[in-house]
Assembly symmetry: C2
């Protein structure tokens, strides 16, 4: 049976998982693929610490370039992460005509254009299944399974740390800071959690989903990105009472001739499949023009789930190499006109609002009339404090709006804040439209 | 750009959807694939009735063999259904070296061994994504995305008609017969609903999932298949009170060295993702040894969703033909020892039991001691009638068991039935183990 050699760059948690998985399921894989996949070389700065897997002598090296250059290495797997060495090495591998597998969402989100252009020029395969959704084969689904669809919209829960925190906040009624500290103790959140909780990790994945579904590269600095750091537990509870769960959602959606890409906490109705996604799990709902709504759910991170998807990509390339033919699944659109990114003015949503309103006659009428003046129509309004105003003389009022331009809402909130009828700028959260 | 010609056999609902989708998204597809897919010939017995799509002159014919033989036809799409003409024509296409796309679950479940053997012998691609799960690309996920995983188990809601009926029974408290009649009026159920509601359609799909995950063909007549026809609304309500929903589940699971394949109504905990699958939607949960639990959800039938998956398969073959290389994704295992089917003695589950028990002192002790004698351990037991016995002197009692061999449970239920402590044989339903 033909052997396919893999060269691994980065022997961290996921790298060790890939080594383990290829060994453990080697017979199964070769039976399913008709080729034998062998881990030929592994490069890492640290080649002495045990990773709990057995590696043949001579496989480990500190020289990444040597791994790429090794004639026994048919596929290069980049699991270094970041945009420094990883970028240089990935470009070198593609330049050398070697197909690449990567899980590096940040690199693809920030430098994807350059990388995919080189892969295209050299006619080399590049697979990046594990860059979005960990163990969920969502990249493959968009590249292949739904290839006949014009994508209508995508909503994704793409960060397990955030979803874990939101689930705990809702179930235990705990404040954000406390749950974050707990998640850090348990290893579910990094010591520096900004990449996760401020929405950047989700935004990187949203950029990759945009490339896959609409064929263009999104400049990261042009995206509206909101995390969950500022989220008040009281809004999680009020949303729940109203029949919603708050999820950090990536949204990629066609709006007329443009595409809306954004990240932010969003109210999801309890009966919606995305509302059932609890704890560290991820899920992506894709609406295709033919398929209708489809959903993909699983573990968005972790050694084994991520390695599962990396191995799926290696297997695909190995099948291609069996016949010496790259499949070269395209990403960026070429012939078709690329859609443009939606402007802030084009973005619409229904909103959840929480206002701390002065407890006096006419307050409610005052802010509802300002909303009305800006064309924001109210679907429901509820005063939340049963026992009257707090010590400061303000009571929480929750309002749900109908779908409205975001710009109109913001103008209305500016005016309400300036009017003195509220104690602070109202909280506004988007609501998922079905 | 290279053109790839499609020959369609069967111009029904899904066939028309495929024609429509290929036309509508032609530019998108050719941009994504690098080839231009053209519907070259369509065969059907009826070529006069309008299907609401435009077809070029000369495309339609009543001669299926002519479509297969046409040198302009590179891919044959079989959407005739059934195991008669469809089988003959599919074999003819493979014999002629033409790759085949099919959605025919019954044909593959009953004659898959012969069909896949021929495809293997002729080194021709056969794709059958739409045979399971309609618009959900679950076949592709198992063949490719999760290819590096040993499958631990699969649970699927694979029949939209049954799921619609079960959803309505639970939400409206309606009896089975009434909901079935309504579903027939609305077109969600066939005039002859046996294939759906008696579980055979689900079993066909379970057989295909078994082939994909464990590499062997399951003889249909060796499967335990139970539908929802006998399901009493009262059990749907009791299950709900206990925190469960009843779903018709296909189960494919490794049990030691064997594989359990079965179809039957099953209690699913409300917090489980499968419990959120409502109405005509389908979903499949796959646990891989590396990926952990993953779930795939979408429309399990219908013109557009099914056509979406058929077009995904056509696209895959078209990519292969671009380089004149079949990918030949394997199904049946070859080198590895094939697992055997689980015997009835090896099957275990936790069970929901409903017993109509004589309302007299000692009845409860009597049946629980019989269960205990057979090694069936009880997790909870509840008397359901608040107001004592019915006119016949019997009261409903619900018991949940711990995991137990099915054979032990059946022996215990035989003895309980014979003992006279119950009015009829107790109802038993499996419970999903997490």
């Amino acid at each position: 049976m033909k052997q396919i050699g893999v060269g691994l760059l980065g022997f961290g948690t996921v790298g060790a998982g890939v080594v383990d998985g290829l060994q453990r399921n080697r017979a199964l894989l070769s039976d399913r693929l008709g080729v034998d996949i062998v881990m030929r070389r592994i490069a890492d700065l640290d080649i002495t610490t045990s990773r709990g897997v057995t590696v043949a002598p001579g496989v480990l090296t500190t020289d990444s370039q040597a791994v790429i250059a090794d004639p026994g290495v048919d596929i290069v797997v980049e699991l270094i992460g970041g945009t420094g060495a990883a970028r240089k090495l990935m470009m070198a591998a593609l330049e050398a005509g070697k197909p690449v597998v990567t899980a590096n969402k940040k690199l693809l989100a920030e430098h994807g254009e350059e990388i995919f252009a080189l892969a295209h020029k050299r006619n080399v395969d590049i697979y990046f299944g594990a860059s979005v959704g960990g163990g969920i084969p969502i990249v493959r689904v968009l590249r292949e399974g739904l290839v006949g669809n014009a994508v209508v919209r995508i909503h994704g829960i793409l960060n397990g740390t955030c979803n874990y925190i939101l689930t705990r906040m809702e179930r235990e009624g705990l404040p954000f800071d406390e749950v974050l500290a707990e998640a850090q103790r348990l290893g579910y959140a990094e010591a520096d959690p900004a990449l996760d909780i401020d929405g950047f990790d989700t935004a990187h994945k949203a950029a990759i989903l945009t490339l896959l579904s609409y064929g263009f590269h999104v400049p990261m600095d042009s995206l509206p990105i909101e995390g969950i750091r500022g989220l008040d537990g009281v809004d999680v509870q009020y949303a729940r009472e109203l029949g919603y769960r708050i999820k950090l959602l990536a949204t990629v959606a066609r709006v007329g001739n443009a595409v809306e890409v954004r990240v932010g906490p969003t109210l999801v109705p309890l009966h919606h499949m995305l509302a059932s996604v609890a704890g560290v799990f991820n899920a992506v709902m894709v609406r295709g023009d033919m398929s209708g709504d489809t959903l993909y759910y699983g573990r968005g991170a972790g050694r084994e789930p991520t390695a599962s998807t990396v191995i799926g990509d290696i297997a695909d390339i190995a099948r291609n190499l069996r016949t010496n033919q790259p499949r070269h699944v395209r990403t960026a659109q070429t012939a078709l006109e690329k859609p443009r990114l939606c402007t802030a003015e084009e973005m619409r949503s229904a909103f959840y609002l929480r206002l701390m309103v002065k407890d006096q006659a006419g307050s409610l009428g005052r802010f509802t009339s300002i909303l009305g003046k800006h064309g924001v129509s109210i679907a429901a309004v509820m005063q939340k404090a049963a026992n009257g105003a707090g010590a400061d003389g303000f009571v929480p009022v929750v309002a749900l709006t109908h779908s409205t331009p975001e710009a109109s809402l913001n103008a209305a909130l500016d005016e309400i804040t300036a009017s003195g009828v509220v104690s602070t700028r109202p909280v506004s959260l988007r609501m998922l439209e079905e």
